[in-house]
């Protein structure tokens, strides 16, 4: 975007309005659907506005890492599928997908949402590994928040498959849900000019100066942060953005079950 158009958008934001008519701190409609993929042990589809992400959870039995013989593990991957955005290409995850996956991973891991000790089957021999795959379907902005919400929703819906004699019976789920000790919510606050916004559109994502993703646990504690963007933030900025995230997380949280 050129100078004039950038300036124009900033002027708009400073008056408290956005091109699509929303207020700066207003999310688009949020929709969470559980259990949409029959072949996954857990899954969810989240739509915020026109942005749509599907996340599926697969459970596998692995040997534990030697330094944590009684703990299972968590793996989060993100696929920026080329159906979602003309700029997404076929091939291994790019740096944007890797960053997103790691930020979502940290929110879940550091909130201790998954008690990895409960994933142990036989110490030193067999533990469950929880694999979360985030797949973008339509990118209309704000993939961070949509992906994080779909990942935690997919985990909420996850049930263990039947397991006997060292073999998993995929397709036969038990009634035992994956134990979740917490439900972290991630909110990303963007700074454009002097204004803060949440839930950006692709046009806004093109011009933002900096962003801060804040993961917040059920009891309101911060559990992960990620600052992004090309411009530095002041200390005041950071805490203002954290306050916004702490406020907005309730809106996302109430869309989840339980």
């Amino acid at each position: 975007m050129n100078k004039e158009l950038h300036a124009h958008m900033i002027k708009f934001l400073e008056r408290g309005s956005r091109y699509d008519g929303r207020k700066p701190l207003e999310y688009r409609d949020i929709l969470v659907e559980y259990g949409i993929v029959k072949n996954a042990e857990g899954s969810a589809r989240v739509k915020i506005g026109e942005t749509e992400v599907i996340t599926g959870v697969k459970l596998v039995v692995d040997k534990p890492y030697p330094d944590t013989p009684e703990q299972g593990s968590l793996m989060v991957g993100a696929e920026f599928l080329p159906i979602a955005n003309p700029d997404f290409e076929v091939g291994p995850p790019g740096i944007a997908a890797v960053e997103l996956a790691r930020v979502v991973d940290r929110g879940i891991r550091e909130s201790k949402a998954i008690d990895v000790k409960k994933l142990c089957i036989t110490a030193q021999e067999k533990v469950w590994t929880v694999i979360v795959d985030i797949c973008t379907v339509n990118d209309a902005g704000n993939l961070f928040d949509v992906s994080a919400l779909s990942a935690i929703a997919a985990l909420q819906s996850t049930k263990f498959p039947e397991y006997a004699d060292g073999k998993i019976q995929y397709g036969k789920l038990t009634d035992t849900p994956l134990p979740l000790a917490d439900v972290p919510i991630e909110v990303t606050v963007f700074k454009i000019g002097k204004s803060y916004i949440v839930d950006p559109t692709p046009d806004e994502e093109k011009v933002y100066d900096a962003r801060l993703t804040v993961a917040i646990s059920r009891d309101g504690r911060l559990c992960a942060l990620q600052k992004g963007g090309d411009v530095a933030l002041s200390e005041d900025d950071i805490f203002a953005m954290i306050d916004i995230a702490a406020e907005k997380q309730h809106e996302l949280r109430e869309k989840l079950e339980g």
């Binding site: 029959k38 026109e50 080329p82 159906i83 076929v90 995850p93 795959d133 995929y170």
Partner: protein, 228 residues
């Protein structure tokens, strides 16, 4: 004879289709048959790089096929594709190519991306059905729609639209067939398994019947998107 899931030999699984489900794409389609779900998105015609891939006389069609990591009935599918997904991308491309007219778009590419969130046999066929909807939705000039379904054998009976159990049966055959909607020209034919030529003829005829039904579902999906 009754099949594992209670269908008649010439009965297809339940279908549903939608057009325009991916707003960011130039065209998109959704096709579900039984528990197999395919999304397809079209981007283009657009610039094609690297340059040596360009054709100065017409645009090229490029199809990518991908199963989402959690889509399979068994273990997790490693992301990033494999030899199978490469071949399926190719055969889907070849099944669509005879109907699209890209002479108006020299040096350009029309990209079709097929993604499967959930699979239960017949993924290439579902992918073709979704992709045809997406191409039409993108306004690409095409002389016909294309639809696909597979036929096979259970015992002595030729059956239409195999599900996972029928597809993975020891003694059987799997024959995916794609045809154009109006003229019923065959644009995809593969087979694995053993079968007499006579049974193959029966199988192709069954597919032809099934394809007519699918075409009607595709038409309806496209018309519904723009219906007043």
């Amino acid at each position: 004879m009754k099949r594992i899931d209670g269908r008649k030999p010439d009965e297809m699984r339940e279908m549903s289709a939608k057009a325009g489900i991916i707003p960011r794409a130039d065209g998109s389609g959704y096709f579900q048959i039984g528990n197999t779900i395919a999304y397809a998105a079209v981007y283009g015609p657009r610039n094609l790089y690297p340059r040596f891939l360009q054709d100065p006389q017409k645009g090229i069609l490029r199809v990518n096929y991908n199963m989402m990591p959690f889509s399979s009935k068994g273990e997790r599918v490693r992301p990033g594709g494999n030899r199978r997904s490469k071949e399926l991308g190719l055969v889907i491309e070849k099944s669509l190519l005879p109907v699209v007219n890209l002479y108006e778009f020299p040096n350009a590419v029309v990209d079709v991306f097929v993604e499967l969130p959930q699979t239960d046999a017949g993924t290439r066929c579902a992918g073709i059905c979704a992709a045809a909807i997406a191409l039409a939705d993108a306004g690409i000039p095409m002389r016909d729609l294309v639809a696909a379904v597979s036929a096979g054998k259970a015992g002595d009976t030729v059956i239409l639209d195999l599900n996972y159990e029928e597809d993975s049966a020891e003694e059987g055959a799997d024959i995916p067939v794609a045809m154009t909607g109006r003229s019923k020209e065959i644009t995809l034919l593969q087979m694995d398994g053993r079968m007499t030529a006579e049974d193959l003829r029966k199988a192709v005829q069954l597919c032809r019947k099934g394809i007519s039904q699918i075409i009607a579902v595709q038409q309806k999906a496209l018309q519904e998107k723009y219906a007043p």
